[in-house]
Structure formats: structure tokens, C-alpha cells
């Protein structure tokens, strides 16, 4: 032990510390300064824990408290508060630099240290100062903008009030700050691991070191006797189904007699401290009988391969799509392209690791206590129901904390199942805060695809036919299963008019990590193959890439691959809008076609469907006694800006000040069951339901001849209205034999252009700039749309060039090749507005489209630069080099 004198946020303190204690733990655990975050496992990879020590930005996870004698430390709480924010915090809010907000405090501390020394830093200085801070949401663009703006504030050139949109001005079409942004900037927004509940037990989980094994027995006798251990539980201690069901009840909360993928949970240990729980978990002995690992669909489909689930063969679902006669059309085509494409298993990589806090509290109305679960589900009512069934316990409540990103990952119940089960079994409050490495093991992933495609075109350069046989690695559990095929096939023809389609999608159980929702969930993979094939065809026919896309764009009245006719299809307008940028980029690239580093330009279109037939949502609005309104809908906002959308929508429709709109999105006790915050559906579906509710309220106001709470009450009118939005129920989204049907209700469109450099000696491909033109209908908050595009393109570049998850090998952000500032590239987003019919004030969602065209644009750019096709993603330097060598 050692006594250390230091100053934290201006307050002198004396702390007693062990030799190895790090500052991050002192701040968060002992002093409750939870604005400082932790993402990586104290490896200095994330920068979320950045603080300022003696004027320098320092990662507190790497800093021993014992070394801080006399140090002057500033944390995010020492800068400002939501009531009195620091100018840097205001700059982050006003620049739209805050999405999920988990990285924000660390970013702000690095910015502060930089601006204290250099009040007018250029972009290179900013990138260097932020080299240890990572962000998954923004692509760093608006963070750099924020630091430049903060510099202007600090230099007195401009004030926040001059930048802030007029709160009394228009509510739609204006980038009003997000309601949650200031709390995130000041470190007061509570994420799950920030929530402290007195007297909780810490949890550790015994996880399988094998990807496929029978469990012959679990011996916890030694662990149970260890000091501070409350107990060990296994599947037999769970009273419900022990299944975390989405489409099929195949995924156990705790494994019973079989393990089907690496790291599955077998037992839970509860103890006084995390250290004691982890030590005891090490002492639990599990007797495994190791089985053959099926680590690819090919192995899983091989003759004699073991069947992984009793209810289904390993080929667990298939869905064809047939429109017209593709074989005949191909036979009669003037040109044909044939190619194979594959993508890797991808981790969605939200910065916040898994975390859950759960506790029991007395229910004054009930005879069993209320189990409250705090997690970051994107469908809290469904997760509540799922946990109730899995655990056989009814009286529950789910609270969504602020969420450090999710990108589809939290469609699944993960750590919440562990914590809820343990709280019930041990009849105690519990905290389960697993490491990043463990989080990666337990969460779902983006599916890998293997696609074999053919495309035909006539002598006029019109696409005649397209076929795609694709195999999806399902991993160990079904999850959204058939949805991945329906979504991919629902958007198979992308932005184009293709009269003849033949496709067959298959999903296959393997022992790999289970695939589930992941920003786009299927279409990013399918569109990668389509857009590269379009490019191959354009080049085969000697046609300009942009003109070829324009010529083949779908037009209103023509049909998609599902047979559904398009009502609105602004792709031609988007193509014309990007044309001057394309001409500029092509001209610039022409000067870099020789030498070791060559530049290319690649394009990718995307037309992303939102809300399949059969979707439904409900939302409520209530007129409050002060004549403001409260909005109720379980619509998670892990960073996209749903809070801004709901607030601006209600304020616009009711002509209210923004601060008279109160939104309630995160508690099963007061929200509507609005469906998942997935599939880019929140603006269209839940926003649509809110629009319906507000229209009912306005009708009641008109009938009452009053716009006030008291006026409605006096007129005997309700003050609360439930709004609904549903898509067509006339038919299922897709016929099981033809893949024809109503499919998706509406589309968001975009075209993206990648300017890429390839070093032909090293094979290294780098993105110089991405330009996007996007049409999401009415732009309620333009800054949010741009932020989604910028972050999505960064994620798409990772998919194209670097990212690949390998269970057991990928254990942190470094091994995952998380996009750091090192990979930063310029981004330009142009918004085109075609208000959508039957949409929410003409607006639809944008979150997933953001990355759909990115990977093919980059791969097409690599071809343009280096003349090689690398279509087995990620296009790493070794693959590009091998392709160049093959070419030579």
C-alpha cells in the first residue's frame, strides 16, 4: 500500500493505493467519476478513459495511481456540467460529433489537452492528438469538425449562440442539438457499467474453451468453498425454458449438455468482488468431450458431418427467388459476367462492452419482487418477454441505459440473461461487467456470405438477367435466421431494373459465432456482389461506370427482384448529383496511373428496403398539464439520433418549443412495445405511429376547441393517444417458392464514390475520400443524416479492407483492426430530398444504408487503380499483392 497526494478536478485528495492500481479504477470505482469510460481491457487501445494529467492527455487505464504523487488531474467532470458546459463540450454537441457518446469524454479530454497547447490546430495536428482515441459511430469527421469549432470558440472568433440553431425557428430540416448530447459530453449520461447498486454480487462466467463439445459434468465444489463466493449456478438452476428465442428456441442461456460455439456460457459464479468471482470461475471443472468442429458451411454440409441441432439438418433454411426466366435471358445476352464473392464474419464493434446490472425490489402490489434488468437491448419489450420465458419469472422490468453503440448486436439477449438468471437464483442484486474479450465471445456477429453470381446484358448495355446462389454461415444458432435471406433477396436487384432474376439463398448451421442483426444484415453482403458485378459488366461493355448505372436504374413503375413495383426511385437524380464530383475524381485519378501508388475511382449504388410486409408499431403521446407533451415508445437510441427525431417531429407537428417535448424511450414500465430499433425502421414505423398519435391529439383539440390540457379535460377528451403504423398484411413479404411478394415498404437510396490509392508494391489499399449522395426523404435533422453516412462509410471501409472476426484469435480492438484515426479518410455527404409517400412527414431512416454501397465502391476503386479484382473480403494487402502477382 502507498499513500498518494494528488489533485482531481481542483480538489486535493490523499488516496491509499496498491502498487498496481490504475487511475481508471480509482476514478470510476472509488470516486464515482464514471464520465471516464472503459472499452478495451486496459490495454490503451480505445482512449475512452483519457484524462488530463499535468496538462497532458493520458490514458488512465495505463497509469498507476502510485506514480501520481503531486499530479494535477482533470476528468470530463472537471470541465463543465450540462448546466454550465465547457466550450469544447458545446462544440462537440453543436458539431454533431456525439452519437452513442461512449467515446466522447475521452475525445473531449484529448481535445482539451491539444487546444490548451495549440488553440488553432490543423487537421494533421488534431489527428495526431486523437491517435489513441477510437470511435465506431462517427468516422471521426464530425469530431475533427468539433475540435476546429472549439478552437474558434476558445479564440473568441465566434460564440456557441451564433452557431446554435434558433430553438424557436423551424423544427424540421434543422440540425437542432440532440436532447441527450450534452449529458454525454459532460459525462453525466449513465451507461450500464456506470450504475451502482448497493450490496450487489459480482458475476463471472465459466465459458467453454471448445467450439463443439458434449458436457459430461460440471464440478463446482471447489469454487463454492472459495472465500467470498456466494455460489455457482448451472442450467439446472434455471426454472424457465433456458432458451433465448428469436425465431427458434435453439440458443440456451446456459449450456445444458452441449456446447456449439467457442466461449458459450456453462456456469455462473457470484461472489463479493469481480476478482473473487473470476478466481472461482477458474476453479469450476467442466468435463467436456470434444467433438468435431464444423467451422464452415462446406464442412457442415459434407456427407457424414454431425448434425448440430436435433430439430434441423445443418442446412437449416433456404429461400429461392425467381422473376422471369434468367437462364433463357442469359443464353440470349450479348455479354455475360460470372464471378464469386465472399465476405467474412464481422464484429459489429460497438465501443461499449457487454454489461448488465440487475436487482430485486419489493413490489408493493405484488407477492413476488420485481426483477429489474438494466441493459442496452434494442427491443426492451421483446427482451423482457424473452427473459420471462427463459427464466420462468413474470414480475420484471427492463431499463435501457445509455448505449455505447450496438449496430444490430443488441437485438439479442446476452449479458442480460446471465445477470437476470443470477439475480433470481442468488436472490441478490448483481453486476456483470465482462471484459471486451469476453464480450466478443458472447455476442452475435455479421454473417459471412459466399456468393456465386452471373449477370447478362444486351448489346445496348441493359442488364438482362442476374443470378446469385449464396450460402450464409449461420454459426451455431438460428437467431433472425430466415430474415437474413428475406432481407438479402428483398434487395437483391439493388438500384436496378433487372427483368430476370434467379437466386437461391441457403443458411447453414456451423460451430462459428452465431450471426444476427448487423447494420444492414444481409444486404451489405448481397449488394457488394451486385455492385461489383455491375462494374465488371460496364467495363466488359466498355461503358462509363456512372452512365451504365444511370442507364440501368430502376424507374417508378418497374419492378424489383421481389416483383413489387417501385413508386419512387430517385437514383437517376442522385447519379446526376454526384456526376460533377465523379468527373473531378476521375480527372484527378488520371494523373496517378503510373508509379508505385496508383489511384482509382469506384462507384456503388444502394437502394435499401425498410419495413417488410407485416411490420407494425405503436407509439403514444400524452398532453401534459403544462401543455407540453410526453412521447412514449420503446425505441432505443444507441447513437442514431432517435431522440432528436421524436422531439423535432412532435415539436413540429404541435408547434411546440423543443423543450416542451419529453421523450420516454427506455423503460418497459412506461413505453409502448414498438418493435426493434433495427432495420432502419424507427423513423418510418415508430415515427409514423407517433405521427398518427399526434394527429389524433390534434383532432381532439379541434373538436374540443382548445389546445390546452385543461381544455381537453374540460371537454371530456382523453389526453393520451395511441398511434399505430403498419405495413401491408395482404401477403407475407415473400413467397417461399418464388421469392416474389410485397417485400419492403419503402427504400432509402444512395450512391457513393470511393477514391482509392493502391500501393502496388505492398498491396496496401487506402481510401482517400468517400463521397455520398443520399436520399432519405425529408431531412428532419440533416446533421444526423450526415453523421450516419460518415460513420457508416467508415464501417463499410473496414468491411472492405480490414475487418474480420476469428473466434479465439480476435480478442481486442487491435486484433480486430478497429478503424482508428490512422485510417481516417475525407468524407463528403450531399443530401437529396424526395419526400416519401406515406412516410413520417416524408422522412425515413438512414442508419444502415450508410454502409451498403461502401465496400463495392472501394473494391471497384481498387480495380480502377490497380486492375485487379479482390472479391474475397477483406481486401488485405496480401490478397491484393497476390492478385497483382497473378496478373503479372
Amino acid at each position: 500500500m502507498r499513500s498518494v497526494n494528488l489533485t482531481i478536478n481542483g480538489r486535493q485528495r490523499r488516496v491509499v493505493t496498491t502498487a498496481d492500481k490504475v487511475l481508471l479504477d480509482l476514478l470510476r470505482d472509488d470516486l464515482g467519476l464514471t464520465g471516464t469510460k472503459q472499452s478495451c481491457d486496459k490495454k490503451g487501445q480505445c482512449g475512452a478513459c483519457m484524462v488530463i494529467i499535468n496538462g497532458r492527455a493520458v490514458r488512465s487505464c495505463l497509469t498507476k495511481v502510485a506514480s501520481l504523487e503531486g499530479a494535477d488531474i482533470i476528468t470530463v467532470e472537471g470541465l463543465g456540467t450540462p448546466e454550465n458546459p465547457h466550450l469544447i463540450q458545446e462544440a462537440f454537441v453543436l458539431s454533431g460529433a456525439i452519437q452513442c457518446g461512449f467515446c466522447t469524454p475521452g475525445m473531449i479530454m484529448s481535445a482539451k489537452a491539444l487546444l490548451d497547447k495549440d488553440p488553432d490546430p490543423d487537421e494533421e495536428a488534431i489527428k495526431k492528438a486523437l491517435r489513441h482515441n477510437i470511435c465506431r459511430c462517427t468516422g471521426y469527421t464530425k469530431i475533427i469538425d468539433a475540435i476546429k469549432l472549439a478552437g474558434r470558440f476558445l479564440r473568441g472568433e465566434i460564440t456557441p449562440d451564433q452557431v446554435r440553431p434558433d430553438p424557436d425557428g423551424p423544427k424540421v430540416g434543422v440540425s437542432h442539438p440532440r436532447p441527450s448530447a450534452l449529458a454525454k459530453a459532460c459525462g453525466t449520461a449513465e451507461f450500464t457499467a456506470d450504475i451502482k447498486v448497493p450490496g450487489t454480487l459480482a458475476l463471472a462466467v465459466v465459458r467453454s474453451p471448445y467450439a463443439h463439445a458434449d458436457i459430461k459434468g460440471v464440478d463446482s465444489s471447489l469454487a463454492e468453498k472459495m472465500p467470498g463466493v456466494a455460489g455457482v449456478m448451472t442450467a439446472k438452476d434455471i426454472k424457465g425454458t433456458n432458451r433465448l428465442k428469436l425465431a427458434i428456441a435453439d440458443r440456451p442461456l446456459l449450456c445444458e449438455d452441449k456446447v456449439r460455439s467457442l466461449g458459450e456460457a456453462v456456469a455462473i459464479v457470484a461472489a463479493e468482488t469481480p476478482e473473487k468471482a473470476r478466481a472461482a470461475a477458474e476453479a469450476v471443472k467442466v468435463d467436456y468431450q470434444v467433438l468435431e468442429v464444423l467451422d464452415s458451411p462446406a464442412k457442415a454440409l459434407a456427407e457424414g458431418a454431425p448434425q448440430l441441432h436435433p430439430h434441423s439438418p445443418n442446412l437449416c433454411y433456404s429461400q429461392p427467388q425467381i422473376k422471369g426466366d434468367a437462364e433463357a435471358a442469359l443464353a440470349g445476352s450479348a455479354a455475360m459476367v460470372e464471378h464469386r464473392f465472399s465476405t467474412s464474419i464481422i464484429h459489429q464493434s460497438p465501443l461499449e462492452p457487454e454489461a448488465c446490472v440487475a436487482w430485486l425490489e419489493e413490489d408493493p402490489e405484488g407477492d413476488e419482487p420485481i426483477l429489474t434488468v438494466v441493459g442496452r437491448s434494442i427491443n426492451i419489450h421483446a427482451h423482457l418477454a424473452g427473459l420471462q420465458a427463459a427464466l420462468g419469472y413474470e414480475n420484471m422490468r427492463y431499463l435501457e441505459a445509455y448505449s455505447g453503440g450496438q449496430f444490430g448486436l443488441k437485438l439479442e439477449i446476452t449479458s442480460e440473461g446471465i445477470a437476470a438468471a443470477a439475480a433470481l437464483h442468488f436472490q441478490s442484486g448483481v453486476r456483470y461487467i465482462p471484459s471486451l474479450a469476453e464480450s466478443m465471445l458472447m455476442t452475435s456477429k455479421r454473417h459471412s456470405f459466399n456468393m456465386k453470381v452471373r449477370m447478362g446484358a444486351d448489346d445496348q448495355g441493359r442488364i438482362t438477367a442476374y443470378t446469385n446462389d449464396f450460402m450464409v454461415d449461420k454459426g451455431a444458432y438460428f437467431s433472425i435466421g430466415q430474415g437474413i435471406l428475406v432481407r438479402t433477396l428483398g434487395m437483391l436487384s439493388g438500384s436496378y431494373n433487372i427483368p430476370n432474376i434467379k437466386a437461391l439463398g441457403k443458411i447453414v448451421y456451423t460451430n462459428n459465432p452465431y450471426g444476427s442483426a448487423a447494420r444492414g444484415a444481409g444486404p451489405p453482403q448481397g449488394n457488394f456482389a451486385l455492385e461489383c458485378t455491375v462494374e465488371m459488366m460496364a467495363r466488359k461493355l466498355g461503358q462509363d461506370s456512372l452512365d451504365f448505372r444511370l442507364k440501368n436504374s430502376l424507374l417508378p413503375g418497374q419492378t424489383k427482384s421481389t416483383g413489387r413495383a417501385a413508386e419512387q426511385w430517385p437514383i437517376p437524380e442522385l447519379i446526376e448529383k454526384i456526376r460533377p464530383h465523379y468527373d473531378r475524381a476521375v480527372a484527378e485519378a488520371a494523373a496517378h496511373k503510373e508509379g508505385p501508388v496508383r489511384r482509382g475511382v469506384g462507384l456503388g449504388c444502394g437502394s435499401f428496403g425498410i419495413s417488410l410486409a407485416g411490420d407494425a408499431a405503436v407509439a403514444a403521446v400524452e398532453l401534459d398539464p403544462d401543455n407540453g407533451v410526453s412521447v412514449y415508445a420503446a425505441a432505443a437510441d444507441p447513437g442514431e439520433g432517435n431522440d432528436a427525431m421524436f422531439t423535432q417531429l412532435a415539436a413540429h407537428m404541435l408547434d411546440l418549443p423543443l423543450d416542451k417535448v419529453r421523450i420516454h424511450l427506455r423503460d418497459t414500465d412506461n413505453t409502448t412495445a414498438a418493435g426493434p430499433a433495427a432495420g432502419s425502421r424507427i423513423t418510418f414505423m415508430v415515427g409514423g405511429a407517433l405521427q398518427d398519435a399526434i394527429n389524433q391529439l390534434k383532432e381532439a383539440m379541434e373538436e374540443a376547441g382548445a389546445r390546452t390540457y385543461q381544455g381537453l379535460v374540460d371537454a371530456g377528451k382523453p389526453v393520451r393517444y395511441l398511434g399505430r403504423k403498419k405495413t401491408t398484411f395482404a401477403a407475407p413479404p415473400m413467397d417461399p417458392e418464388t421469392g416474389q411478394g410485397p417485400g419492403f415498404e419503402v427504400e432509402i437510396h444512395a450512391i457513393q464514390m470511393a477514391e482509392v490509392e493502391v500501393d502496388i508494391e505492398t498491396g496496401q489499399a487506402s481510401v482517400v475520400k468517400m463521397t455520398a449522395v443520399v436520399d432519405a426523404g425529408t431531412a428532419i435533422n440533416p446533421q444526423n443524416i450526415m453523421g450516419q453516412l460518415e460513420g457508416g462509410m467508415d464501417m463499410g471501409a473496414g468491411l472492405a479492407l480490414r475487418e474480420k472476426y476469428v473466434a479465439g484469435e480476435t480478442t481486442d480492438w487491435k486484433t480486430y483492426k478497429f478503424p482508428t484515426m490512422e485510417y481516417y479518410f475525407d468524407k463528403e455527404v450531399l443530401i437529396h430530398e424526395t419526400p416519401r409517400i406515406n412516410a413520417t412527414q416524408g422522412a425515413i431512416g438512414v442508419g444502415e444504408m450508410a454502409l451498403v454501397p461502401t465496400a463495392p465502391a472501394i473494391i471497384n476503386g481498387i480495380y480502377d487503380a490497380a486492375g485487379v479484382w479482390v472479391t474475397n473480403l477483406p481486401a488485405t494487402p496480401d490478397k491484393i499483392k497476390a492478385a497483382l502477382a497473378g496478373q503479372g
Binding site: 442446412l315 402490489e365 411490420d615 418493435g675 426493434p676
Partner: protein, 123 residues
């Protein structure tokens, strides 16, 4: 049969189940819940109750069903058991025994409330 639906798909029991009840075309999920709560009508509840083994829906059944529907149509979610008890004046044991399948798979289903677990479709 290269493009025929795989038998495995059929075995899963996934997706919607469409039925005609009392002359109306209705949509149900794989667990027999109404896909659209607004398609519900009283005669459908009577027929579904009969199919579930209840000779007829008594006034007590209807009290529960009406409470469930009113709660859902106001709150946009199903009530928890504690709210159901308070709203109907019935004990949990009585409620569970009143409907084949209990509260969740019996009462809620007959009342036409959507299945909160159905979430993969529509996305």
C-alpha cells in the same frame, strides 16, 4: 428439385399462419397470436376459445379480455401480471387457471394482443 422449398423450412413452423374465422381473413404468427391486434373481434375470440377447449367464454373471461384490450389500446403494451390482478380483481392462480395456456399463451392470445416475442419479422 433445385428450387423447391427445403423440407427443413417446413419443419421450422416459421412465419405467419393465415386463417379465415367467421368469414374474415385473419393473420396469426407461428404461436397463434394475432399479427394485428386490430383484426381481433369478439366472435373470433369465442371460436378460438372453443378450439382451445373452453366450452364458452364466461363473463369472468370477458372481464379479463376486455381489461387486456383496454390496457393495450391505451398503453401500447401488455400488462404485467400485477397490473392484470389489480385491473381484474382476480388472483394470479385464478387468472392462470381461467384460460387454457394461462395468461400469456391463453388470455393474451384470445384477447388479440400481439406476441411480444415476435420481432424478427418486419425488420
Amino acid at each position: 428439385m433445385e428450387y423447391g422449398p427445403d423440407q427443413a423450412n417446413e419443419d421450422k413452423g416459421l412465419g405467419r399462419r393465415n386463417r379465415t374465422i367467421a368469414g374474415r381473413d385473419l393473420h396469426f404468427d407461428q404461436e397463434g397470436f394475432f399479427w394485428d391486434s386490430q383484426e381481433w373481434f369478439e366472435e373470433a375470440a369465442e371460436i378460438m376459445a372453443h378450439e382451445a377447449g373452453l366450452a364458452r367464454l364466461t363473463e369472468t373471461h370477458w372481464r379479463v379480455i376486455r381489461f387486456l384490450r383496454e390496457y393495450y389500446n391505451t398503453q401500447g403494451r401488455a400488462p404485467l401480471n400485477r397490473q392484470l390482478k389489480a385491473g381484474t380483481g382476480l388472483s394470479l392462480m385464478d387468472l392462470e387457471g381461467l384460460f387454457p395456456g394461462g395468461i400469456k399463451n391463453g388470455a393474451r392470445r384470445l384477447a388479440g394482443l400481439p406476441n411480444p416475442k415476435t420481432c424478427a419479422d418486419g425488420v
